[in-house]
Amino acid sequence: MELVTPGIGLIFWQTITFLIVLFLLSKFAWKPIMGALRDREASIESALSAAEKAKLEIQGLKAENEKLLAEARLERDKILKEASEAGNNLVETAKQKANEEGARMIAQAREAIENEKRAAFTELKNMAATISLEIAEQILRKELSDPKAQQVLAQQYIQEVTLN
């Protein structure tokens, strides 16, 4: 039957044409198309993995930031504490020093007063002695101007002196 009898002409043309088309399409169409598809898939794949990596990186950075922040906070607290301690110390020492100075000055003053007092006493004593002597001299002069009184006094002394 004619329908199922392949004609030589069509076989010939079909073979030639199909092989040429196969060659041309393979070289100039399928190769660039498949290459482009592969490249695009690879780029999508790498973009996705890069995004994933970036996400992880950001998470890492965030954690690090938090850690840094916590560390900074700790550091700040420590510095503050140290500063207040130092301040306290300073005040304390200043106070102490002032106290000491005050005490020293008071002691000095007291010593000075004591010295003055002593000097004043000595002077007073000397003055009193002089005055007493002068008084006694005055009295004695007055008393002994009378010979009878001189007699009485001598008598008195003699009585007082007990010869034993």
Partner: protein, 344 residues
């Protein structure tokens, strides 16, 4: 795309109806249909619009090239020319009286027939479309596909991922050019065959024979050790069965592409015959009332044919990929080389 298909089928109904007119004598649907699906030396689009194609004859080494116009007189009747005449659709040597000679040996017909012209047309279309797309991939590098590129890209990816990768395995890449070419070649020609004035190229056994032969050659030449071992020493089969098994396996090599050849040819030809038969009903009953029913059925068949056009391209490509897959498969186990065209 949808609008295009609607346009196509509206043309087809017109053209098929136009081809059916009863020229004088009795209307013979069989002759009309056979004439329609067979090859011809001219391309008859409509009455008055006929393209006469070149005839190329190799007669015992001497080349004869002339227009097929010479075979027809002004009344479109066949006449002898230069000792040749178209007889039952083929060119034969004839005597002076126009009777074919008994001796036709050494006469080879390489004419650019309707089918060959259609083949060139479809191939030009394929090249233009896919070169354009390839150009788009270059100019559009790394960007989303646009226009025609985005229409074909999913199809190309489907052929790669569903047909090639799934059936051939890791070595799929080297078969991609053939699979893509054969898929689009069959699909385009199936669709072109449905166009008004289109030819029945993929429903021609010579075309399917060539395609199936290429599949066979690729399969045989890419067959690895495991493939040949399965043929000459099928694992699990006793040696004394070899005299039966080896011929059976060898025949199996041929029957697979043979089934490819017949399947494509029969499906496409049958589709054309059915649509034409439905239109013939109008002329057989010679009543206008039959027309709506005929047309309704023909429209249904046409949409079915659009599906078949894609389906047959898919099946041919899929089965080719399976045969390649069987040839390059690493057989570590008692294998299943006999898989393949179980379905359809």
């Amino acid at each position: 795309m949808k609008r295009l298909f609607v346009l196509l089928f509206s043309f087809l109904t017109i053209s098929a109806a136009a081809e059916a007119p009863v020229e004088g004598g009795e209307f013979k649907p069989g002759d009309m249909i056979m004439h329609h699906i067979a090859d011809d030396y001219n391309w008859h689009f409509a009455d008055g619009a006929t393209l006469y194609l070149p005839v190329i004859l190799l007669d015992n080494g001497s080349l004869n090239v002339f227009s097929s116009r010479n075979f027809y007189n002004d009344n479109h009747e066949l006449v002898p020319y230069n000792g040749y005449k178209v007889d039952h659709g083929h060119i034969s040597r004839v005597d002076a009286a126009g009777q074919p000679l008994a001796d036709q040996s050494g006469l080879l017909d390489f004419s650019i027939t309707k089918n060959v012209a259609s083949l060139f047309l479809s191939v030009a279309l394929l090249l233009i479309i896919f070169f354009t797309i390839a150009g788009r991939y270059k100019s559009n590098q790394g960007k989303a596909p646009t226009g025609i590129q985005s229409f074909f890209e999913p199809i190309i990816i489907f052929v790669r991922d569903e047909i090639a990768k799934g059936n051939i395995g890791p070595k799929y890449e080297r078969y991609m050019p053939y699979l893509l070419t054969v898929f689009f070649f069959i699909w385009f020609n199936n669709l072109l065959g449905l166009m008004p004035g289109g030819t029945n190229l993929t429903g021609n056994i010579a075309v399917t024979l060539v395609l199936a032969t290429i599949t066979l050659l690729i399969t045989v030449f890419s067959g690895n050790k495991g493939y040949w071992k399965h043929i000459f020493a099928t694992p699990g089969v006793p040696v004394w069965l070899s005299p039966i098994m080896i011929p059976v396996e060898l025949i199996g090599i041929i029957t697979k592409p043979f089934s490819l050849m017949i399947r494509l040819f029969a499906n496409i030809t049958a589709g054309h015959i059915i649509v034409l038969s439905l239109f013939s009903l109008i002329f057989i009953f010679q009543h206008i009332a039959v027309a709506p029913i005929s047309v309704a059925f023909a429209i249904f068949m046409f949409f079915l044919e659009l599906l078949v056009a894609l389906l047959q391209a898919y099946i041919f490509t899929l089965l080719s990929a399976m045969y390649f897959g069987g040839a390059v498969e690493e057989h570590d186990h008692v294998g299943d080389l006999g898989h393949g065209d179980g379905h359809h």
